[in-house]
Symmetry: none
Subunit: 132 residues, 4 copies
C-alpha cells in the first residue's frame, strides 16, 4: 500500500480507496478479516487514528463491518458484488475521461474542476426531475 502524505487528498481517503481496491481485486474475500488497525497503521507508518477513520468510512458505506474485540471484516452478499461490477464500469469510463484530458494537456486541477462541474450538473438535474 502506497501513501502520499504530500497529496491534498486526505490520507484516510487514500487508505480507504486502496483497501476497497484490494477487496475488489479479490485480495480480501467476503467475511475475511482485514489487517488490524494497529498492524496496518504500523505497516504504512501512520497514526492508528487515521486508519480508524478510513475503516469508519468503509463501514459507513457498508463495505466492511466491525466486530468489537475481534476485527474488521469484508461485507459480503449480492449487494457488494453488484456494486463492485457497476463501479468497475464507472472507473473504466472515468479512466478514459481522465486520459483524454491529460493527453490534451489539461492540468489535474482543471480536470477535477470539470468533474465537479459535471457532477453538480447531474445532481441539480436529477433534483429537478424529483421536484417535478
Amino acid at each position: 500500500m502506497i501513501i502520499d502524505p504530500k497529496s491534498h487528498v486526505p490520507i484516510y481517503k487514500q487508505i480507504a480507496a486502496q483497501i476497497l481496491d484490494a477487496i475488489d481485486a479479490g485480495v480480501y474475500r467476503a467475511d475475511e478479516m482485514l489487517p488490524s488497525l494497529r498492524a496496518l497503521a504500523a505497516d504504512i507508518r501512520v497514526n492508528p487514528n487515521t486508519v480508524q477513520r478510513a475503516y469508519d468510512e468503509l463501514e459507513r458505506e457498508g463495505i466492511v463491518y466491525s466486530k468489537r474485540g475481534v476485527g474488521l471484516f469484508v461485507a459480503g452478499g449480492r449487494t457488494a458484488a453488484a456494486r463492485g461490477a457497476a463501479e468497475k464500469k464507472v472507473v473504466k469510463l472515468l479512466r478514459e475521461s481522465v486520459l483524454a484530458g491529460q493527453s490534451a494537456g489539461l492540468t489535474p486541477d482543471r480536470i477535477r474542476t470539470l468533474f465537479e462541474y459535471t457532477l453538480s450538473e447531474s445532481l441539480s438535474q436529477s433534483e429537478r426531475r424529483t421536484r417535478t
Copy 2:
C-alpha cells in the same frame, strides 16, 4: 456568475472555473480586459482576497496575463481554442461516467472517490513514464 457557498469546492476555484468558462464561451476575447478585482468581488459579494486567489490561479495556468497597474487580460492564441475543444470532449466523457454511476445507484460521494482514485492512478502512471 453563480457561487454556491454550500459546496465543498473552494470559492476561489468556483470563480476561476466560471471565468474560464466565460472565456471559452467568448464572453471575454483575447487581450480583452477582465473585470477589476474589486468590481468582481463587489459583484458576487465575496472577499477581494478570494477573487485575487482565483486570478492568481488563472495566471499561473497561463490563461490570463496581468499588466501591473492596468488590469488582467485574456491570453489569446490557438491554445485557448484547442483547449476549449478538448475540454468539451472531456466533459462529454465525464458526463457519461457520472450518469453510469448514478444509474447504478452510487452516491455522489462514492463517484467522487472513484474519480479521485482514477486521477491519482493516472498521475502516478504518467510520472512513472516520465522517469523511464
Copy 3:
C-alpha cells in the same frame, strides 16, 4: 439460539436477551436449571467468558440465581410473569415507533439516535424527580 456477530450489540447482551426470551416463553420454568456455562458456550460457538458475562448480567438483574458448584436457576414468582406481560406491551409500542420511523424514510441509525435520546431524556427526568 441465534447470534449475529455482525451486530454492534455485544454478543453477551444478545445471549442474555435470548435467555430471557426463552424464560418468558416458558422454555425454562421457575427453579429449573439453565444449561451449563460450557455447554452453552460450545453450543453457540462462543467464548465461555462471553456466556459468563451474560449470566452475570441476568443474575445482577435478579432474573436467575446461582447455586455454587451446582448451576444456574431461574428465579421464579409473580415478578417474572408480570415482567413478561409488561415487556410484551413495550415491544408492541416500540414496534409502532420503529414502523413510523421507517415509513418516514428514517435510517435505522437515525431511529436509534432518537431512541437513545428519548431514553436518556427519560432517565434524567426520573432522576430529577428522585432528587426532589
Copy 4:
C-alpha cells in the same frame, strides 16, 4: 448543554443529539451559523476533536453543512422540515414506549435490548420484502 462523561453513550453522540434538539426547538434556524468548533468545545469543556466528530455526524446526516473557513450552518429546505415533523412523531411514540417500560420496572438496559430486537426484526422483514 449538558454532557455526562460517565454515560456509555459517546460524548460526541450526546453533543450531536443536543444540537439537533436545539435545531428542532428553533434555537438555530435554517442557514444560521452554529457555535464554532472551538467555542463550543471550550463551553462544554470538551476536546475540539470531539465536537468536530459530532458536527461530522450531523453533516453526514444532512442536518448541517459546513463552509470551510466560515462556519457551520443549519441545512434548510423542505426535506429538513419534513424530517423534523416525522421525527417529532417518532420521538413521541418512543417516549410512550420508554415510559411504559420504566413504569413496569424495566431497566434501561432491558428497554434498549427490546428496542434493538424490534429494530432488527423490522429490518429483516423489510429486507425479506425487498428480495421477494
